[in-house]
């Protein structure tokens, strides 16, 4: 640890080794910290100096790769952008993200989310009748603003850890996956809304959300998944109305 040591903190970390442990348990570690020691730095100090078997994910240490989400004293946060100085002298309880199955120590299972993301069909569908030429589409700054914030999601899953509906209904598509769908629905270049609708317009899609808004509070990137979900609900209701009142569009199911 370079820089001046200002104190030590007790890190109370949840440990779980699936091939040996019956159940997760908490272990205390005393860690020196300085002015700019992040929680991630502290975990790395434990791994380097106290117990190399502690398992957690991390990479960029600048809050853009989305790897290092943990529960810090019960709140989902990125370990790299929260600092030990704000929790000292502790104990700071570090647990794996809530609502996700624990694989080991602080490592949670991301496979259900990856499946949800794929179900949301988060890719751009060009206009089938008028595909853009070789030099692409025009898009004004205002049109970009319509989806820009939704495109800032880093898939860190803090929103899944915060969401009470994810806890109750494990099949819920979830805030980040729905936001990924809405990000493309709101993109002026996209014509894939109808294809995304079946995954959204289901009990375990949009309609599982009870608009608590915990996702938006937890989001470290200002994405506001709750707003995305509300917009999608409104758009879906409008699509119902259109289907009821108008002939089926485009012949697609």
């Amino acid at each position: 640890m370079s820089g001046e040591v200002l104190g030590t903190i007790t890190l109370r970390v949840q440990r779980y080794r699936p091939d040996i442990d019956e159940a997760p348990h908490l272990v205390d570690y005393e860690v020196p910290w300085g002015q700019d020691t992040s929680v991630l730095d502290a975990l790395n100090w434990v791994k380097d100096h106290l117990d190399p078997t502690l398992a957690f994910r991390w990479s960029c240490r600048m809050a853009i790769c989305g790897s290092c989400g943990f529960q810090l004293n019960g709140t989902p946060r990125l370990g790299c952008e929260h600092f030990v100085r704000d929790y000292a002298p502790g104990p700071l309880v570090v647990e794996p993200l809530a609502n996700l199955a624990v694989e080991r120590d602080l490592v949670v299972d991301l496979e259900p989310f990856m499946a949800s993301l794929e179900r949301a069909r988060p890719w751009l569908v060009p206009d089938p009748d008028d595909p853009p030429g070789g030099t692409g589409n025009r898009q004004t700054p205002e049109q970009l603003l319509a989806y820009r914030d939704y495109a800032m999601c880093i898939d860190c899953l803090l929103c899944y850890a915060a969401c009470p509906q994810v806890a109750l209904a494990p099949d819920f598509l979830g805030p980040a996956a729905i936001t990924a769908a809405v990000r493309y629905d709101k993109d002026s270049r996209d014509h894939g809304g109808d294809e995304r609708l079946p995954a959204l317009d289901r009990e375990d899609g949009l309609w599982a959300c009870t608009f608590v808004g915990a996702c938006s509070t937890a989001c470290p990137k200002g994405v506001d998944p709750a707003a995305a979900i509300q917009q999608a609900k409104a758009a879906t209701a409008a699509a119902w109305a259109a289907e009821f009142l108008l002939p089926r569009r485009g012949g697609r199911s």
Partner: protein
Amino acid sequence: MQTVRTDVAVVGGGGAGLRAAIAVAEAHPELDVTVLSKVYPMRSHTVAAEGGAAGVVGADDSLEQHFADTVSGGDWLCDQDVVQYFVEHAAHEMYRLERWGCPWSRTDDGAVDVRRFGGMSRPRTWFAADKTGFHVLHTLFQTSLQHPSITRADECLALELVVRDGRVAGVLAYDQREGYPVLVEAGAVVMATGGAGRLYAQNTNGAIVTGDGMAMAYRAGAPLRDLEFVQYHPTGLPGSGILITEGCRGEGGVLLNADGRRYLQDYGLGPETPVGEPKNKHMELGPRDRLSQAFWHEQRAGRTVATPRGDAVHLDLRHLGRAYLRERLPLICELTEQYLGIDPATAPIPVCPSVHYSMGGIETDVTTATPLPGLFAVGECASSGLHGANRLGSNSLAELVVLGRVAGERAAAAALADPAPSDPRVRRDAADAAARHLARMGRGSEPQVGIREELGRAMDDGVGIFRTREGMERAAAAVRDLKERYADVRVADTCPVYNTDWAAAVELGAMLDVADGLVASALAREESRGSHQRLDGFGERDDERFLAHTRAWWTPDGPRLEHTPVTITTSPPATRAYGAAGAAGAVGAAEGAGAAGTGEVAR
């Protein structure tokens, strides 16, 4: 050990690997592609690229100028056939990303906007605010999800290439989630594993940038090329190395020393440009190697600012104003607030040079083929010949997509032409290699942290911005010593799943192999060129002896080196100049080109 059969195996799920996988799926949907990645693809370090991606658009720019900037930026060590191919295809790939949904920043009329970047004579850097790499990566990742022929093997750590009868037959990996080794037998393998910046202590790179793919290819018999060329980004945060994008200077940010002087004017980059009027290839928009070298001199002269995490200069953005900073550089605003507690609209940012990019890597030609049959390489792990002795900012994101597509198409063609049959000898070799790696679990006495930290210091000190034989020999001795200690490296963790202690040891082994080749390559280059600068009597570029690539082959006794020719097509080596001298030189060169053209006609 599980055995999986695929047509094309892509190792690495960053920008290059994903672009290659999509290219296979588009060109040959009948082929299976398997993308192995040690992290989920959206965690790959492409995500941290900030400033942008170069591609010529608009009437006042030209492919010739992008070519000339890249070749002189690389101090004439670029393979010019590769540069030519690259500049011709860059904008096309940028537009393709546009059609896949990349949220490029726009002008008011809806056209794609471009910004200034260091060493580029025109604004030609496409950007998505200051999160360009993040958006490019997520666009590619999400686009890849629609292709059923792409199978991902996420959180699978590649361990070794398996070679049979002189060609690559597959990749041995370890599935961290399931807890067992996997052999992926493949008709062709694309290595797209990124750089090796973590060799150094002060670096901008994420934890995963450990040179794994370079080391695997090296051990398998493919040469690594030009490893001595390591780019220092002039503006990282002291200590953490967190990247502060060159886009800051493209937008008009200035660098000040402890006296408040824009010191770059004292290093051949002037005359001083007015604050708020950035000028291409002048002052703060000089190339990264020159700016990092200028810092070193200022530090020597005592004109840097002391911070708790080391010496720094000030990157001043205050004159840009809060609203503009929020729009164009939002990530920089977030990062400086979180990590430094400062608002760049009211306070300058302390920055220092930090290792950022490996120009060298697995040798390839313009088709991304390596000298080892069946193996292709692309992105930072490769030495394609594009970047020469110093990469220009925003050429590497563009390289990922331009050559990523080539890698996918070429690997698919190779897998179709020569699909290696399943071979029991390959499975046996892979099983042996897996056993060797797994035997490390629960053994050893040398703590990894000591080896890793000593390696970082040795590289920072011995093969940094300026180099001497004495310093490099110290680094070489340190690496040799660390390799000996590594033979007894401690892996305390014996758990089969998410054994990050063991994975870090595998990565540390890769770092030591690459470091060994890097230091030897640097020692052998007795000249100064681009990012390789010597203070021990070899201070000038020496085209007589070293207009040549360095090629390092792995041997049990250490690297074996040779020097190979650089491909020069239209631009013979000339003086590399920026600022006023560069502007004068550009006029002279244009006149010279005109004269040569006249000569052609006369003949």
